[in-house]
């Protein structure tokens, strides 16, 4: 059990990434594929966060005297994740708006039926 306890954030992030990849590879609905992309994104963000996380330590905001530099987590991954979330939102918005256009041209969201360009 201690293995799961120590590694649960890594397991969760890896699981989310794999679920996302599965959705992207297998599902045929365009909206579901976009949701899968977002799963991958969230998984990567959790991976970044848990790399900098130390169990039992707090956020590095020095508002109280008992918070010193020895009992805080690494703040750099959190800054990275903020940036990554913003980028993820941009991609999601662009994907959905292109998806709307695809639907208007093809009257379907099933990627097996969208065959304008041969592979």
């Amino acid at each position: 059990m201690s293995l799961i306890y120590n590694w649960m954030y890594y397991i969760a992030s890896g699981g989310l990434i794999l679920i996302g990849l599965y959705i992207v590879l297998v599902k045929t609905n365009l909206i579901k594929i976009v949701i899968g992309l977002d799963f991958i994104d969230t998984g990567v963000n959790i991976l970044l966060i848990c790399i900098g996380y130390i169990r039992g330590k707090t956020a590095p905001i020095f508002s109280k005297p008992e918070i010193t530099s020895t009992n805080v987590v690494d703040p750099v991954p959190q800054a990275l994740v903020l940036t990554a979330i913003v980028i993820g939102v941009a991609i999601l918005a662009l994907a959905l708006s292109i998806g709307i256009k695809v639907y208007q041209h093809n009257q379907t969201l099933n990627v097996n039926k969208i065959k304008g360009l041969k592979w």
């Binding site: 992309l37 790399i51 690494d74 941009a90 662009l94 994907a95 292109i98 093809n106 304008g116 360009l117």
Partner: protein, 491 residues
Amino acid sequence: MVNPSLLVGVPLALAFSIPLFGLISKKIEKYIPIIALLINVIISLILIPQVLKKPIVVSIGGWSPPFCINLVVGPLGIFFVTLISSIGLLVSIYAATYIKEEPTEKYHMLFLLLIVGATGIVLTGDIFNLFVFFEILCISSYALVAYNKDKEGTEAAMKYLIQGSVGSSFVLIGIALLYGLFGTLNMADIANKISLANSTFLFISLAFLITGFGIEAAMFPLNAWLPDAHSSAPSPISAILSGIAIKTGVYGVARMVYTIFNAEGILTFIAFLGLLTLLIGEMSAFRQDDIKRLLAYSSIGQIGLIIFALGIATSLGIFASLFQIVSHALAKALLFLAAGYMIYRIGSKSITSLYGLGKKMPITSFAFAIGSFSLIGLPPFAGFISKLLIVYAAIQVKKPIFIVFIVVALIATVIEAGYFFKIVQNLYFRESKNIEKITETSGYILAPIIILAILIIAIGIHPQFITGLLKGAANELLERAGYIGWVLGGS
């Protein structure tokens, strides 16, 4: 001294000011990218001699590396910046008259952001900053592929977006693993500590990074998006994607493999992947009947040749690979611009509709012929020298496997010659009745095409123009201790 951070800053600031200029007057906005890129070309030309003497490291925020985000302007970076801004300048001159569909201010803004992304990727010395610029490049190219909002464009953009965003997630996973191993994001600092880490984790991280950048570079199993995206985009965007965007993926792979990971073991595998990409690309191009799809598949082939030469891993091999990057960027930009103009006149992308255009559009057709001869590798064009150098470098390694590789590569070149000769022959020696009214336009839409053709011939006749810069760039990739020394001091 000019501050190299202007290379990123000027286009970024001007990009977001374009909609504001568009409010004042529709006539000003299309000249903003030309101005921004002209400034970039001038700055990079001023910086080249300084950088070749001593590389410039710009630290942002007053901290010293490895604690700050820094720009590293070495020979490799300045070589790519010069290439990106000069190709971008020519394409933006072309696009100023070519792009008529509204909203043009959004087109010019996204175009400039794409250039910012590409410039940032090659200059930055911070691995997360690299990811951010990579995303700027990718998001603006997804949007630009769908710019015409037609059926093909949106479908191609969707495919590109799905594959590209999986790729950039992979890059981020690789970066997260590297940060977890070393606790730093500075590329020189990671490179300095790389031998201390567990090799299994390093391999996983390298695999993620190469897959991620490989999607942008269109290496063989990851290139399904490229023919659709490059052929459905507006022609100036096809030129910039083929000329610049996929090269930044190659830069990413090269920087990771050579500078950061020092992974000599996988270089033969990378050369093999490049060879596969070359063969698949050229064979697929041979049976296309849509001119832009043909050029897109030919881009895959040429990228394969570049990656193959990168995998040779001698100083001459990397030099040849960078030379091939220059000659392919010039030739493919020229071909896409000329083809885009022909398609605009004829109204069809099919190769059969190009019959007999040589007499109606003499300048464009002649430039098209120059571009395709340069890609095939005929003297006296730039492509001849790069292909000759690649063959010479592969023979010089004296490993039997590379002799086999180069034989296959030359067979692929013969296939390439097959389809390009066919097009040029159709341009000049076939008759067609549908093109009676087509004429060559005068005016400055022809200027970028002519300049590109002149550059190809000039570099082909007198390669010493760029060899000094290319030698420095190849050394930067091979001598990683030097790179670490510039950034961290000492050495």
